[in-house]
Symmetry: C2
Subunit: 178 residues, 2 copies
């Protein structure tokens, strides 16, 4: 019993470590993609939909590229993944995103039934780069975060390079604000 208990503890610790390591790897890919997005005339955000380690959707922010105000990285990744699996519900998926999702992307995740969202930069970084995320959250939520999401659904993991996409954006003289 004691051995089993210890084994379970070790397994759980290993899984947690492994999950965090996976989480960090996918977040780093999002950050790298977001930096590349800026170089490719997109916005400084990127997101991925991942199921059991498989990437089902991946996109940078395409608002100005596509003249589509809803083409945030998270929304595009969700649309790609749902089209790929032929189902509007992304159960058992994780949404990784380079930055805290805005209210639209959070609500899109709810409609897609995505059970877990992991992000790197906070909304304050988006604001630093000139985006309206916080203003819109205050208008809709009355505070910067959603009010009552289920515990564990939305998680930030600190990443050393989280600010890099916004630094690239601010350094881009011909950036097109939106």
């Amino acid at each position: 019993m004691g051995l089993n208990f210890n084994k379970e503890c070790i397994m759980r610790k290993t899984m947690q470590k492994s999950n965090t390591q996976h989480d960090r790897e996918f977040l780093q890919k999002c950050i790298d993609h977001a930096v590349a997005s800026v170089a490719g005339e997109g916005g400084p955000f990127a997101a991925m939909i991942v199921r059991n380690g498989e990437v089902l959707g991946k996109s940078g922010n395409c608002v100005t590229l596509d003249n589509d105000p809803t083409a945030h990285a998270e929304v595009v990744a969700i649309r790609q993944a749902a089209a790929l699996i032929g189902d509007p519900h992304l159960l058992d998926c994780v949404l990784y995103t380079s930055c805290e999702p805005c209210p639209m992307c959070l609500a899109a995740s709810l409609w897609a039934h995505v059970p877990r969202i992991v992000y790197a930069a906070s909304h304050a970084e988006a604001v630093r780069a000139g985006f309206d995320d916080t203003a819109f959250a205050l208008q809709l939520f009355g505070q910067v975060m959603p009010v009552a999401l289920p515990a564990g659904q939305l998680q930030q993991i600190a990443m050393p390079q989280a600010g890099a996409p916004f630094d690239a954006w601010l350094a881009k003289a011909d950036r097109q604000p939106y």
Copy 2:
């Protein structure tokens, strides 16, 4: 001075009446489109983007038709209009919709800079038809309505047929909930 004041009052009243008449006409078109959407295997919602009387975007709900959880009528109409005018910002436009916009559609309207949203049915009608609008609003806003939108941005106009799309939906034996 008194005459001018009276003339201004009359003009304002006429404009208001005219606006309300236009609003009702566009809302009725949305309701009719939403009923047709159900018959065409879409969801029981429809929306239009209108600028100076010109329809720039118009869609029913395509979530299950397109396997796209973000394909709410409002989002699709916004995407169409922005693509048509080649600009992600829909300034000077009105969003008409057969039902109170969900949190995703409200936030999409903010990103699109749509200054005015007019809807027919309340969120309670969507809930009656089995949709999660109110549940998601409570999770995000902590109440059924957004907390602090600018005054006048979101307006309900009572329409006798507002419940028709939901009646059609509930009467459809092979409807696909989402």
